[in-house]
Amino acid sequence: MGHITLKNVSKAFGETVVIPGLDLEINEGEFVVFVGPSGCGKSTLLRLIAGLEDISGGAINIAGQDMTNVGPAKRGLSMVFQSYALYPHMSVRKNIAFPLKMAGESQEVIDKKIADASRVLNLTDYLDRKPGQLSGGQRQRVAIGRAIVRSPQAFLFDEPLSNLDAALRVNMRLEISELHQQLKTTMIYVTHDQVEAMTMADKIVVLHAGRVEQVGSPLELYHKPQNRFVAGFIGSPAMNFFEGDLAKEYDCHAIGVRPEHLRLSTDEGKWEGTVGIAEHLGSDTFVHIDVPGQHSVLVRVPGDIAVKYGDKVFMTPDADTMHRFDGKGLHL
């Protein structure tokens, strides 16, 4: 139940190979997030699992059954699309009822399931409205409602929050996590927002150019990135990389230090630089520092710090939290 296995799955659109061959194991009840930069093949992978695209090679196994050549309707999965894909001419009630109607459920069952779903999702007052008369967040909930009434093996979400404003996104993030706790159904969630990935996931799959860079829990990825790509992608603000002489000293091609793991001081430290822009967020200050021969370095300082543009400052990396990478970008 709800266990999904991908074996050497590949996908090419004509000549362009989007996914060169990928293995993945998704356990029952897990909240798995696919994260990666734009165009890396997250949506494609999700659509392969959903059955909306034919795979070019490999096998997909859902709940112990080979589903490689089974149509999307028969895979027992529900999907929430980025555009919500609500049916505009149907009321909210009919939208949610649609999958049940297609499955030939009796009116009684349909009414009951709609009542349940709309209670869980706070949609009871909107059941007779058309999707065009709802706000973005409400539409999102209708799309989720339509997905949950089928009691699927797993939910697939493709960037469901990217059309919402920042505050609502935080809210919906919580609601979806809450829903996962209640339903305990497997969820696969695609996003390019690594904050969403970190906060929601049981397991994050970092994708890059159709390849899996690393699979692990959020903290695993944060503390033990296997390569430079994952190190730079996970964590916000992004990790600083130092190359050249500074790295040679540590016997590697590049070292990576997260902004929160650099100590900043005005009188002494390992590396010297001049202050560029300082962003004061209240709780933290992000200080951009120019170090000769390096990219601009970002340091995160808790609270406030009295530095101004052009000041000379010193930084010291924390040896325990420093990451070393070889020439190929692999973690040492």
Partner: protein, 290 residues
């Protein structure tokens, strides 16, 4: 935002066009109304006099009027049915990625550019002719007696000819509507367990509702005044079997030279067309709103 000033300016700018259009419409209309109350026959010049409602009474009690009205409705309804159903089917077909798509699309659109008289002549002589026509040839191939379409099913034949030339229009409008259907909606329906037929009924057709209304509205306006196809093929006959209102007015005016009677018929046709238009605009308005 439309301020009072821009509104006034807009009205001022538009007024010449509106006045021109108004005159364009009002002058012929009032002349027709004037003539419709006159006894005015071209065969008897100099006998023009005020006739009151006589022309109207004469036109409305003419048995030909009722068959013409029925024929008009049958013709419009029949063509609408064929073009909408055919247009949806062709639209669905052309929406697929098929080999030689560009050429096929041009071929489908081509009939729209054939003049009504030409297409009617082609149909009359090359397809429906009981001796030399293609249909007769096919019938003979299978051992049936050829069917004389224009003599035995005149209205049906005219309907087919007109439908043929309007099918491209419907197809074109419905095809663009189909192309604007969000593919994620179809995919969502597919994942919800809807087969191709259900997707068509529950997703595609409702999406097409507006486009279909537009097709119906525009076609009706033109189909109420179908004339050339009838003149070229059946001359309204046999009897009045394929005479519609437009053709009846024509035969009044130009075959019996009764200008007064024809004008009365014309005014009645205008009134009927307006009744249809009011109904249509109501339905369309409702459909286009949401």
């Amino acid at each position: 935002m439309a301020t009072t000033q821009t509104k006034t300016a807009a009205r001022f700018m538009m007024s010449p066009a509106i006045l021109l259009l108004l005159g364009w419409m009002i002058i012929p209309l009032s002349m027709t109304i004037w003539f419709s109350f006159q006894r005015y026959n071209l065969l008897m010049p100099g006998t023009e006099e005020w006739a009151g409602w006589l022309n109207y009474r004469y036109f409305l009690t003419d048995p030909a009027f009722f068959s013409a009205m029925a024929n008009t409705l049958l013709l419009v309804g029949g063509v609408l049915f064929v073009t909408v159903v055919g247009g949806v089917l062709f639209g669905l077909l052309l929406d697929q990625a098929i080999y030689g798509q560009g050429i096929v699309r041009i071929l489908v659109i081509a009939p729209f550019f054939v003049m009504p008289t030409v297409s009617a002549l082609v149909w009359k002589n090359m397809f429906m002719n009981p001796v030399n026509g293609l249909f007769a040839w096919i019938a003979k191939l299978f051992g049936f007696a050829p069917f004389d379409f224009l003599a035995h099913a005149p209205l049906f034949s005219v309907t087919m000819i007109v439908a043929w030339s309007w099918l491209p229009f419907a197809t074109l409008i419905l095809l663009t509507a189909l192309q604007s259907l969000d593919s994620e909606q179809k995919e969502a329906a597919e994942m919800d367990g809807a087969g191709p037929v259900s997707v068509f009924i529950y997703i595609t057709l409702p999406h097409l509702a507006r486009a279909i209304t537009v097709v119906v509205l525009i076609e009706t306006i033109f189909l109420l005044s179908v004339f050339a196809e009838i003149l070229v093929t059946t001359n309204g006959g046999p009897g009045y079997d394929s005479t519609n209102l437009t053709y009846l007015v024509y035969s009044q005016a130009l075959l019996t030279f009764d200008v007064g009677g024809a004008s009365a018929g014309g005014i009645i046709a205008v009134i009927l067309a307006n009744i249809v238009a009011v109904f249509l605009v109501r339905i369309v308005g409702k459909n286009l709103e949401s």
